[in-house]
Amino acid sequence: MSTHSLVRDDVQNAPEPSAPSRVTGVAVIALVVDLIGIGMMVYAVKLLRDYNHDNTFSTVVAVILVLASLAPLWPTVQGFVGGAKRARLLGDKQIVAARRAAARGREDAAIGLGYGAATIIVAGLLWLAMTNSGAVADTFLRVDAWKQSFDELIHAFWINVWVAVVSFALVLIFGLILAIMRLLPGRAGAPLRLIATVYCDVFRAIPAIVTVLLVVFGATLAFTFTQTWNIAWLGVVALTLTYSAYVAEVYRAGLASIHPSQSAAARSLGLSYAQTLRAVLVPQAVRRMVPPLMNDFISLQKDTALLSIAAIPEVLTVAKYWESKLYTLAPVTLAALFFIIITIPQARFVDYLINRDASKRAGG
């Protein structure tokens, strides 16, 4: 740059070196939070031992919980140490070293704060469960009720599993037919497009529980040949009708997400519309469809519990029977636990697929 340069030293002073940030304030807050957490935890484990009549198991759990609640004190103390170090170095005019010590101290104090806050939440939940001399635990978490109902519940849960799997297999086929109908080109395809669109709109609008009710009770009256069917198959029909509408949408959106330039490239090589779909669009779209399809599958698995409205003997129906028999919701909690156990790994798997896809695209 010449003498006309826009930047001149004489008007831009070098900045003052910035002072190290403060540490002690954060450390004090962390200490207070830690102490509240410890206090709450001690009280909560006392309730826990009272509820379990001071048996050995509850004592062991209590000791572990209290020891865990003490852990956040260590990084908090480190935070105070960092603060002291910062003050000493600042006294020696070692600004860079003081900044580093301050940063490390704040990091430590923040860790103490975070774990202290988590302790408060855990202790609070335990407190809530044990409050009212164990009323919450009695209502939802009775081990004896779990033991009594487990065999029948796991047996009933099998219905949920096969209904979900069979329904989704049918949904993948029926949804594909709907999606193809919606993609038919030209004026000739217009009426079929309209029918498929109306179907998707209608069955996404009706709550699934209403469809279950209408199909399971209605079919046996309107189509008498279904009276000989295992009633769970009517549940399969209802869920298939509902979820096909969602899955058709996934297929359609997946194909629409492929850039039009791919279709242009294929068509300009002389491929027909059908050949373009088969060789170029579908193979690319399938990869993008898998995560949303998995999400719909997970959702379908949970909606099998809706079949309890029609007294199909799946897990929730049986759980409610045990609930009225034992006067506790614990069997229903157990049913919830079954769903949690099969659903969470699948949800994680979907996340993994999505992340893998995202990182692949970022890498490309």
Binding site: Q262, G270, S272, Q284
Partner: protein, 247 residues
């Protein structure tokens, strides 16, 4: 009768008239370059020739047979008219070799083994044979564009449309791609290309058309257009190109 005749072609998207009556003839073995600012209608004109876009008026004929309007076998037409795009548009889920073999095997019904040999020799000719098993995402822009040219050539088109095929490339990769086009021109392939590479147009074109807002403003041999343009708008356009160092 010219090989490709474009007669008074009009094209609009809604109220936006992109082509306002374009007429142009391309003789066999001729290389015709379309130049002009972005949005002047170069790409649209190319996409009308292979009917990726339908015309709203006028007519396009190849060897005297109309390709516009109803009743034309588009898949048949597109076998004879190759196109290469600015953004390559390779199929990302197929290897380079599969990209090149797809249309010959699926559309032309060529035997897989024959198609593979043909594809390999074409890839060889553009220096891409060793990348035959690679996937497009792992290739540079220049490599992808060379594959895209080969993919179009594999159908043995009688005319090639090149739509700003070097516009998305890093400057140092442009040369390789242009070299291939130069060879094709030398071999006598009929080509209609839209380009911003004025130096290249000057070198290979038998005819240059300057498009301005959907009309051909000036047309003639490259020497005349680049060195002695008649129209003021052509002069302005070329002087801006010179200023940006592209000529």
């Amino acid at each position: 009768m010219a090989f490709l005749e474009i007669n008074d072609v009009r094209k609009s998207y809604g109220d936006n008239e992109v082509l306002k009556g374009v007429s142009l003839n391309v003789e066999r073995h001729e290389v015709v370059c379309l130049i002009g600012a972005s949005g002047s209608g170069k790409s649209t004109l190319l996409r009308c020739v292979n009917q990726l876009e339908q015309v709203n008026g006028g007519e396009i004929l190849i060897e005297g047979d109309t390709v516009t309007g109803a009743g034309v076998d588009l898949n048949r037409l597109r076998r004879d008219v190759g196109i290469v795009f600015q953004s390559y548009n390779l199929f990302p889920h197929m290897s380079v070799l599969k990209n090149v073999m797809l249309a010959p095997t699926m559309v032309a019904g060529v035997d897989t083994k024959v198609a593979r040999e043909k594809a390999m020799s074409l890839l060889e000719s553009v220096g891409m044979a060793e990348k035959a098993t690679a996937y497009p995402d792992n290739l540079s822009g220049g490599q992808q564009q060379r594959v895209a040219i080969v993919r179009a050539l594999a159908m043995e088109p009688r005319i090639m449309l090149l739509d700003e095929i070097t516009a998305a490339l890093d400057p140092e990769l442009v040369g390789d791609v242009l070299e291939i086009v130069r060879e094709l021109a030398h071999d006598g392939l009929t080509m209609l290309l839209a380009t911003h590479e004025m130096g290249f147009a000057k070198e290979v074109a038998s005819k240059v058309c300057f498009l301005e807002q959907g009309s051909i403003l000036e047309m003639g041999p490259p020497k005349q257009i680049f060195e002695n343009p008649r129209e003021e708008r052509t002069q302005q356009f070329l002087s801006r190109v010179v200023k940006s160092g592209r000529l």
